[in-house]
C-alpha cells in the first residue's frame, strides 16, 4: 500500500474547488447581459432591414414592440400579419395595445414611451403605414423602425 502511494505522488489532482466560482461568474454575466424572451413569435422571425444610422433604444421597459411579418401557421393565411403581445391581431387592435401598455406606466413616463416596429424586409409599407396612422390617432408619436446594423444594399 505504501509503495502504491509513493508512485502516485507525482501527479496531484487538479483542484476543482474553484469550478463553481467560474461557472457562477459565467452565470452572472449571462443574467446581466441578456434579457428574458418575452413573447413567442407567431409570425416568422422578421428579417430586419439593415441600416447604418441606427440608434439604440434605451430603457427597455418603455418600449412596446409591434411585429409585422408572415404568419408561421398557414391557417392564418398569407399576407402581412401584425403581432401584438402573444396573438396575431389586426390594425384595429393597435390602439387597445398601446393603451394597455400605457396603463403599465406612470403618467409622466408616457411621453417617453417608444413603439418599436419590427417588420420584415419583405413586408409591405402599406401595413406599416396603417399602424402608423393608428399610432398617430392616439398620440403615440415616438416610433423606431427596428433595424440591424448593416449595408442598406441588403434591403433590396
Amino acid at each position: 500500500m505504501s509503495k502504491f502511494r509513493k508512485n502516485k505522488k507525482g501527479l496531484p489532482a487538479i483542484s476543482t474547488a474553484s469550478l463553481p466560482d467560474i461557472v457562477f461568474m459565467l452565470l452572472f454575466f449571462f443574467m446581466v447581459s441578456t434579457t428574458m424572451r418575452e413573447t413567442d413569435l407567431l409570425i416568422k422571425k422578421p428579417l430586419l432591414p439593415s441600416a447604418n444610422e441606427v440608434k439604440k433604444l434605451e430603457q427597455k421597459s418603455l418600449v412596446s414592440t409591434i411585429y409585422v411579418g408572415k404568419a408561421k401557421d398557414s391557417k392564418y393565411g398569407a399576407g402581412d400579419k401584425i403581432q401584438l403581445n402573444d396573438k396575431l391581431s389586426t390594425v384595429k387592435d393597435v390602439r387597445a395595445f398601446i393603451y394597455s401598455e400605457r396603463a403599465k406606466h406612470n403618467e409622466d413616463e408616457v411621453p417617453y414611451m417608444t413603439v418599436s416596429i419590427k417588420a420584415d424586409v419583405n413586408s409591405y409599407v402599406g401595413t406599416v403605414t396603417d399602424i402608423k396612422a393608428e399610432l398617430r390617432e392616439i398620440n403615440a408619436l415616438k416610433i423606431s423602425y427596428s433595424s440591424k446594423r448593416g449595408n442598406i444594399k441588403d434591403n433590396f
Binding site: 441578456t34 424586409v121 441588403d154
Partner: protein
C-alpha cells in the same frame, strides 16, 4: 467520549447546480439589443387645419414605386445617389428663412431654384402601399445620413468635433449643459423635416 465533529457538506455538486442554472439562462434569454431608426410622427392636425402652402422649390420629393424604384425630384435615381442629392438640397441656402436671415453656415451652391434655407427645406417621402419595407427603410436611412453628415460638418467647423461625437460625449456626461447647448444649436441649424405623404394605392 470525544465529541463527534460535524461532517462537512460536500460541495462537489455545486458546479453541477451552477451549470444547470447557467444553461437555463442561456436558453430562456436573448441577447439582441433593440436598435432602429428613430422617427417622430407628426401630431394629429386639429380639425379645420389648413396646411401651409409651400413653394415647390423648398420640397424635396422622393417617390418609391411598387417595383422599389426611386424617383427623386422627377429624376430616376439609384439608392446611393439619394444622399448626395438630399445634402445638396438641404445645404443650398438660396434664400432666407422666415425672419429674412440668410443661411450663413450653408456651403451649398445657393441656387435660387433650390431650397431657400435649411429650416424651410422639407423632404417628402411618398411610397406605394405595395412597396417593400426594406427599400423604404433604405431611403429613411439615406436621408438620416444626409442630415447627420451635414451636422457633422457643421460641428467640425464650429466646435472642432463632429455632431456624432458630441452626442456620444453627452451620453457619457448627461448633465453637461454646455454640450447640450452645442447640440441644440447644430440641430436648430439643420432641423430634420421629413414628411411622409399618404401612400398611393
Amino acid at each position: 467520549m470525544a465529541r463527534r465533529e460535524t461532517p462537512e457538506i460536500n460541495a462537489g455538486s455545486m458546479a453541477d447546480i451552477a451549470f444547470l442554472l447557467l444553461i437555463f439562462f442561456l436558453v430562456t434569454t436573448t441577447m439582441d439589443v433593440d436598435s432602429g431608426i428613430a422617427r417622430k410622427l407628426p401630431e394629429k392636425p386639429p380639425p379645420g387645419y389648413v396646411p401651409p402652402i409651400l413653394k415647390e422649390k423648398n420640397v424635396f420629393e422622393v417617390n418609391i414605386n411598387r417595383n422599389n424604384q426611386f424617383l427623386v425630384e422627377g429624376e430616376y435615381m439609384n439608392i446611393d445617389q439619394i444622399k448626395e442629392a438630399a445634402k445638396k438640397f438641404i445645404n443650398n441656402g438660396g434664400g432666407t428663412n422666415e425672419d429674412g436671415e440668410e443661411c450663413t453656415w450653408c456651403t451649398g451652391e445657393r441656387d435660387p431654384r433650390s431650397s431657400d434655407h435649411p429650416s424651410k427645406a422639407i423632404i417628402s417621402i411618398q411610397s406605394d402601399r405595395a412597396t417593400n419595407y426594406g427599400p423604404f427603410i433604405a431611403v429613411q436611412n439615406e436621408l438620416e445620413a444626409a442630415y447627420t453628415e451635414l451636422r457633422n460638418e457643421l460641428g467640425l467647423k464650429l466646435y472642432g468635433k463632429t455632431f456624432t461625437a458630441l452626442v456620444k460625449d453627452l451620453q457619457n456626461d448627461k448633465k453637461n449643459e454646455e454640450l447640450k447647448e452645442k447640440i441644440e444649436n447644430i440641430k436648430n441649424k439643420y432641423p430634420q423635416i421629413i414628411s411622409e405623404a399618404e401612400p398611393t394605392q
